[in-house]
Amino acid sequence: MSEPRRLLAGLAPALVVLGATLAGLPLDNYPKYVIAIAIVSIVVGASLVVLVGLARCITLAAGSVMAIGAYTSSLLAIHLGVPYLIGLAAALLTGAIAGWLIALPGTRFRGHNLAMVTLVFQSVCIILIREAKTLTGGAEGIHVPAPSLFGWTVRSDGDFLLLIGVLSALAVLVLTVLVRGAFGKNLQAAAGNEVAAEAFGISVPAYLTAAFVISSVGVAFAGALAAPRVRILDPESYGVMASIFMLAYPIVGGMHSIWGGLLGGGGLRVLPEFLRPVADYQELFFASLVIVVVMFFPGGFVELIRRGVLALRGHPAGPREAPQPAVAGAQAAAAVTPLPAPDGAAPLLVVEGVDRHFGALHAVNAAHLTVPVGGIHGLIGPNGAGKTSLFNIVSGFLAADAGRVAFDGTSLLELAPRDRIRLGITRTFQHVAVFGQLSCLDNVIIGRGRNGVLAAIGQSVDEMRSGPLTARARGEALAALDAVGLADLAGMPAGALSLGNQRRLEIARAIVSDPRLILLDEPVSGVAEAEIEELRALLLRINAERRIAMLVVEHNIPFVARLCRSLSVMGAGAIVAEGTPADVIAMPAVRQLYFGEDVAA
């Protein structure tokens, strides 16, 4: 995307809000009011896109969070005469605290339990607000004074529209930057595939907490903006039903883009004004609308509009893979043969005496293996031999009962999976774990690591200011894609790729951080025969050119034998044979392991 277009795309949602504001200013007071309130709902919708759409967390607490923002700013103004802008800032703070509080249990639960936990927060908050009568006016409500800032007292509908419009545009801008930037992408990755996310340094709990906090800050901000506009603040307005209908904003609009929040929030708030003649049926209508959207258009109206536009332009509805992926590079490298093992090379990865029990099952029994610097080592064995357990112990997804796993002298057993990438260890997955919603390029960019929440937020801001990543980082990612022959598909959503190409993408994502070791978990499982050879050539080339060591777990022995310089064979949890592929395969013990001892007699 060209520089001005990219900047425009980032600014567009905020500009739409500003545009609506300006368009509303010459209108009558009633449309001005409705636009102002709809803009507040847009902020709510956009905030919930972060939590509901990207993090895929259900919240039934949006109403209470909005109440927290509204009461914070209003009560400060009423009781302490705090200026409006400072009240707003305080609302951001209390919103953040509320989000953090919800996240404490919120990161532990999914689905119905999360719905209930947030409902608890919602109900308790509203009860507390209601019972703190002297402070909040209780259930009867309290008058909110007209806000004033820098000597300007906001009274008229036009003033309010201007104030709400400008501040909301700012909020939408911030949310757009986060949603479209690295933060949003990483959050989608975390929600889409926790295991893969953790493997590339994305801490799922940290991201989910951030999602709760950011969306709560947004919703609380919206609450503080709206409070003086509606004049009367009462707990009932922020009850469970309000929460449920706010949850509908991102769902109906479209959960996966900021536009969905805009469309859902604004649309669902404005629609009742047009449905006034049939107001009796409005709640039934909205509830049915959500069910219909969930069942038939999970992408919401944004997706519907997008498809409509594509259909009008004559494009096919879904994203399609380009007919010929660029595999020429890989084919050219097919002649590459394994590097000779460097003599006396120091071992890069050392596994010693690793034990793991599952109940009575001794899944891994004093297993050992080494991978030399720049070497390719294979781990094979029949089903149930313990390969996957050992692999998971090395990659950090399974704890060992005993033993030692050291990478270049550093013990790995205490490290969380997400910390391995810093040491220079990455991996691929048996069941391809690409982040399907993200483009191939974004998948690879995540593979660069440095995916801490704060770093990602900072990076999101940088991207907005100076383009998507620095030229260097982008170049690295493109180079990695090019290395696996996917450069032409950089912009394609990863979920739309063929399995073979998804495996390539995983390899690109694994090499972009310049690791010293890649753990390959069944890299050709399910891949068509023709592509297996290409993948082997690709891996050999990467090993040769980038000197990345590899540990491969694989069932396809012909493939492993032609890829690796050394093999370990596992049976019943223990390493039963080691050596060069040819030697190992010839061993009677290995054959017996695979074809069985004569137990039938």
Binding site: D28, Y30, R231, R276
Partner: protein, 401 residues
């Protein structure tokens, strides 16, 4: 500077005279008034938990307007009702702005709950539309006084509270200890504030227990009353809450309690909940209870005809108030001498004496209402009601307690 009543009347007269001379007949007609129609706007909740207030509001008003129009309308024009759904403050503001600025209604009726009405009232004070608050009793709607906002059948909480407590002493009853059972939501809390103030000022000992909206289990509250030897209980809440509380008290063996209910709970629908509800008291905002006399029975028949079928518990307070109040508005319009300007209308409204359905041939189901320049509370009367043989009856009228 203190202004005496004479001074005010003189001012009003002067203003009226000025208005009649300055406004020539050729001048554009007032908002909401055409040659054939006068548009009245109203808001109330048609969906959600307080739809049971808004829907009767709409139905009662529609019945009255249909009757008035059948007789030729007022000032040669038909009345037209624009009723908009709104329940929260935000929705109420949107609805009144739409009615005032887009539909340009001549007068506005608030048939909504307290908080919605409060947000709307705040706005109409600014724009000056003649506004009738039907159901809001709390100070947050009524204060500050504004010359274009009127209140009808529902008396302010400070007035209702002594009336309510007075019901404990009817028929020579001497309460030993009063228990107050109040809902934690908006309007019971407003009444509670006034009731507590009154009880304290009279140095009456009382026990307070509360319950959440739509509560169905009152055992613990009642047990606490039993422990404190409460023999008289005031319930502030809806008829359903009051009904189940009384039912449970009987089940707990709490006999011989004098029950007094807030006006909002005085409904026919409470009787089927309790079964034998005889002896339960409460105040009613109208002079007779549905079914009590021929006039009210006729009202019920007409409403049923209009609705097709009568939902359980209807007609209720809200149907009757909406019906009566619509006639009050019609009276006020007639009182302008058909010079349909807002100022004339406000002046006419402020000088209504004993207005209501009767003056225009409607059914006399509501107290007559009177207003002055300085007092926009149309009614101070409360009907003291009691259940006899399974039917509510208003047995005396409490005059300005």
């Amino acid at each position: 500077m203190r202004r005496g009543p004479l001074h005010r009347i003189a001012l009003a007269l002067a203003a009226a005279a000025l208005a009649s001379t300055v406004a020539p007949s050729a001048m554009a007609q007032e908002a909401g008034v055409s040659d054939t129609e006068i548009t009245i706007g109203a808001i109330g909740a048609l969906t959600g938990p307080i739809a049971f207030i808004g829907t009767p509001g709409r139905d009662g008003m529609t019945l009255a307007i249909d009757e008035i129009n059948a007789k030729g309308g007022v000032c040669g024009r038909k009345l037209k009702l624009n009723f908009e759904h709104a329940s929260t403050p935000a929705e109420s503001l949107a609805a009144v702005k739409k009615l005032v600025e887009q539909d340009k209604v001549f007068a506005l009726v608030l048939a909504s709950g307290s908080t919605g009405a409060a947000a709307a009232a705040d706005y109409v004070r600014q724009v000056g539309v003649p506004t009738y608050n039907l159901y809001g009793s709390t100070p947050i709607i009524r204060e500050p006084f504004s010359k274009n906002v009127f209140h009808g059948a529902i008396v302010p909480v400070e007035v209702a509270a002594p009336g309510l407590i007075g019901l404990f002493y009817d028929d020579g009853h001497k309460p030993q200890k009063i228990g107050v059972l109040a809902g934690t939501y908006a309007f019971p809390q407003a009444t509670l504030k006034a009731v507590e103030a009154h009880l304290k000022s009279k140095k009456i000992d009382y026990a307070l227990e509360q319950f959440d909206q739509s509560a169905r289990d009152f055992t613990s509250q009642l047990v606490s009353f039993g422990r404190q030897k409460v023999d008289s209980v005031l319930i502030l809440g809806s008829f359903s809450e009051a009904g189940f509380a009384i039912k449970q008290a009987r089940e707990l063996g709490m006999a011989n309690i004098r029950w007094v209910l807030d006006g909002s709970a005085v409904s026919r629908a409470i009787v089927p909940i309790i079964g034998n509800a005889d002896g339960i008291r409460g105040y009613f905002n109208n002079p007779a209870f549905p079914g009590q006399n021929d006039t009210v029975r006729e009202f019920e028949a007409r409403l049923k005809k209009q609705l097709g079928s009568m939902p359980q518990g209807r007609p209720n307070n809200y149907d009757m108030i909406a019906y009566g109040s619509t006639y009050v508005i019609a009276d006020a319009i007639t009182g302008t001498g058909c010079q349909l300007t807002r100022d004339k209308f406000l002046a006419s409204w402020s000088s209504l004496k004993n207005a209501g359905p009767k003056t225009m041939g409607g059914l006399d189901v509501s107290f007559p209402e009177s207003f002055t320049e300085t007092d926009h509370q149309g009614n101070y009367r409360l009907g003291a009601a009691v259940v006899k043989n399974g039917e509510w009856q208003v047995y005396r009228v409490i005059e300005r307690p």
